[in-house]
Amino acid sequence: MEGISKSFHGIHANKEISLSVGSGEILGLLGENGAGKTTLMNILYGLYQPDAGQIKINGNPVRITNPMESILYGIGMVHQHFMLIQNHSVIENIALGYKDTPFFFPKIKIKEKVASFSRQFNFTIDLNKKIWQLSAGEQQRVEIIKALLNGADLLILDEPTSVLTPKEIEELITILRQMKADGHSVIFISHKLDEIMNICDRVVVLQKGSIVGRADTGQTDKKTLARMMVGRDVVFTISREKLAKGRQVLRADQIHVTGDMGLPAVKGVSFDLYENEIFGIAGVAGNGQRELAEAITGIRRVDSGKITINGKDITNLSPRHIYDHGVSHVPEERIRFGIAPGLFLYDNAILKQHHLKKFSRRYFLKYSQVKNHTQGIVDDFKVLTHSIENQIRNLSGGNIQKLILGREISEQPNLLVASHPTYGLDVGATEFLRQHLLKLRKQGSAVLLFSEDLEEIFELCDRIAVIFAGEFMGIFDSDDERLCEIGLMMAGSRRIPRCIQ
């Protein structure tokens, strides 16, 4: 790719980017969220057109105007959010993506092709299963099969490990190494330094749309890369002062919750939470965290068990009642649950508080109060917007998250339930949010933090629980040495391990 530039709404996503990949090589594309990595790859894959620049394959300049063409050129992409049809079966999804699917009876004819591929790469997936029945790792494998079936010489993987268990990550690495040996090329997009160093041969670092560094992974280290990525030295540990625990705020007792598909999602979870404490629940997304958070905040029914806040039973109360007990929630799916996209910023700023006396009187809303409050949040949390009369959907993801956090924190909650709050945020916003969580902790609140980011968990939490398949594998103090095997626990191992040096 030479001199690729692309802008959206006046914001430069890519500025004159040039890079190249050879066969049998794994190139890492490193950068924070919003650096332009996905945009660049979407251009390569044909979903976007560059404003300027050229793409050359095997030395010949090409124009890729849609994914079909890039597939024909031998480029395959596995997106961060899988491009799969949940309600359809594996074979139907493959048939959809395969370029030579026959017109009549496609399912039957493709099955043989897939079978031979499966043998070669050791995929064992039931072709008739529906996608929603598969684990994240299995779904990813379907995506990879699709790309390989189309004869991809170059495979692009966008943040592939964000939804995998450590074991599945190992399996993925094996597959990638095999592909490399076979002469395929891989572009590996990630913001995780460990993976880049481990998996890639070379790495290109993007920051705010431009290339700020290139290196061979054998000749550099994490600190250098991190500095390139952010432009300054990243402090890997935030200092967290020790605080004595206060009164008990939350007690959860043998909670059982059912998930969307009718299967049990949380199976007998018990724990408690105190003032001046951040309690982390570590685990790969999809192991019951969302359902547990929703049960505590009242959005989802608790089938059995009891939850109390400050001694009062809040099990299965309405979200509003639970909110009135001082429980705030930063939801996992911010856009889906946290905002009304077409309404203005100030409408969204009081989404959960609109019934409070300070914003409403009898039947009417006190809009001048509302607007002041909103301006306060925007200023305090540095939400980037040209006015509070802006529709909230025009803001970037990070700024929406800041508004939601500001909204939830501004009422000094007893308990803040934060579900993956920094997912998808850039480093600046992430640091900001984490500082705020620590601030809340100091002010006497209890924070329940759900996160997949182990760095974040260790930085912020006083106690850590590991969740897998709806159960806690264990609850530990943050300095418990058994946490060195947290990866194993996240993958389901329950035995208390001895650390391997």
Binding site: H9, T297, G298, I299, S318, P319, R320, H321, Y323, H329, P331, R336, F337, G338, I339, A340, P341, G342, L343, D347, L351, K352, H354, H355, S360, Y363, F364, L365, Y367, N390, Q391, N394
Partner: protein
């Protein structure tokens, strides 16, 4: 080579919205003219006849206001429902139910109660009837997840048949000499009109008041806020602790109730008896949908929008007589204008840039 690219437009000012609406209507009229041309009608003559008929004469203007009354009432109610993304296509049925309830009240008590007592009673009954008919689809949607487009439509037909059943059966008036319809309402139970016209001014004032109250409700009350949030994102509403059930029930009660009031107006103000469904309402429930859409779901604008479409209805009657065009012509006008309004919205929300480049 010409390349068209579109980008989101962030600043939508009221002026721009207004200009877009006007352009859309103009474009729509243009296409309607072409249709007329093909049908062998002189479009300029036809369109001028429409406007002459509705606004050009005193008589026409009075008729326009008369027809605007139900459109404003129903249209305002629909702006509320549509904002919550509850597609109430059943205003026809809600209107008829209001007519039924109020006629019963009028016939039952009209001879014994004085005007100032029976009229409010009739309006209340009409509101109740419409509200009931509006709540049914709300319940069906909440409890059984039945698409409200279908349920409200089915209820339209069901109500029309109920009405017919009543007026050929148990409610058939002795004074009708075998023709279907109820007896005439007692004098006390009829609405007075502005002399020299058919404008039943009490309903008119009610309509204007309702539009104003509704505007207040949508923009300034908690209920209006909750309805808007629910329309934007029901999941966010759940998360915000908004009671979807209660909110939907109340807004449909209001929307249906307003349509019911329109029904009262038609019966007590114009016909003075309950006849066939098509004589009570000439498609007001459907036309009001366009009224609400043109008003950009703002109840205050619905007043202007209602008068505009009432003008089209009256004008449509006029050219029916003078040009011999069938009644369905009005539907063509309505449909075309609505399509162009939709297309106009696209230009409102997107900035189209045309770039010319070589090669």
């Amino acid at each position: 080579m010409i390349r068209l690219s579109y980008t989101d437009r962030y600043q939508i000012t009221r002026l721009r919205a207004l200009m877009t609406n006007i352009f859309s209507l103009a474009a729509g009229l243009f296409v309607i003219s072409i249709i007329f041309l093909i049908a062998g009608v002189n479009p300029l003559f036809a369109i001028s006849e429409i406007f002459q008929g509705s606004f050009g004469s005193m008589y026409g203007f009075k008729e326009t206001i008369t027809k605007a009354i139900p459109l404003i009432l129903i249209g305002a109610g629909l702006t509320l429902a549509f904002r919550a993304k509850f597609w109430n296509i059943g205003a026809e049925g809600q209107l008829l139910m209001g007519a039924i309830f109020s006629t019963w009240t009028g016939l039952a008590f009209g001879n014994t109660l004085p005007s100032f007592a029976i009229i409010p009673l009739m309006f209340a009954a009409g509101f109740l009837g419409g509200a009931l008919w509006g709540i049914i689809p709300a319940i069906l949607k909440i409890k059984y997840a039945i698409n409200e487009v279908i349920s409200t439509l089915m209820l339209n037909y069901i109500c029309a048949h109920i009405l017919t059943m009543l007026i050929v059966g148990p409610w058939k008036g002795a004074s009708r000499f075998g023709f279907p319809g109820t007896d005439n309402l007692p004098d006390a139970a009829t609405l007075s009109v502005i002399p020299g016209s058919r404008i039943h001014y009490i309903t008119l004032m009610l309509a204007l008041a309702c539009a104003a109250i509704l505007a207040l409700a949508i923009y300034k009350t908690r209920f209006g806020y909750e309805a808007r949030v629910v329309g934007e994102n029901p999941d966010a509403g759940k998360y915000a602790g908004i009671n979807f059930f209660k909110t939907t029930l109340v807004l449909m009660a209001i929307s249906g109730g307003l349509a019911g009031l329109a029904g009262v107006g038609e019966v007590a103000g114009i016909h003075h008896y309950l006849g066939y469904p098509t004589s009570v309402s000439s498609g007001y429930g459907f036309t009001a949908i366009i009224v609400a859409w043109l008003a950009k779901l703002n109840p205050l604008y619905a007043v202007i929008s209602g008068i505009f479409f009432a003008g089209i209805l009256v004008g449509g009657d006029a050219i029916q007589i003078s040009l011999g065009l069938p009644a369905a012509t009005v539907e063509i006008v309505n449909g075309t204008l609505l399509i162009f309004l939709i297309m106009g919205e696209y230009f409102l929300h997107n900035k189209i840039t045309v770039t010319f480049s070589r090669a």
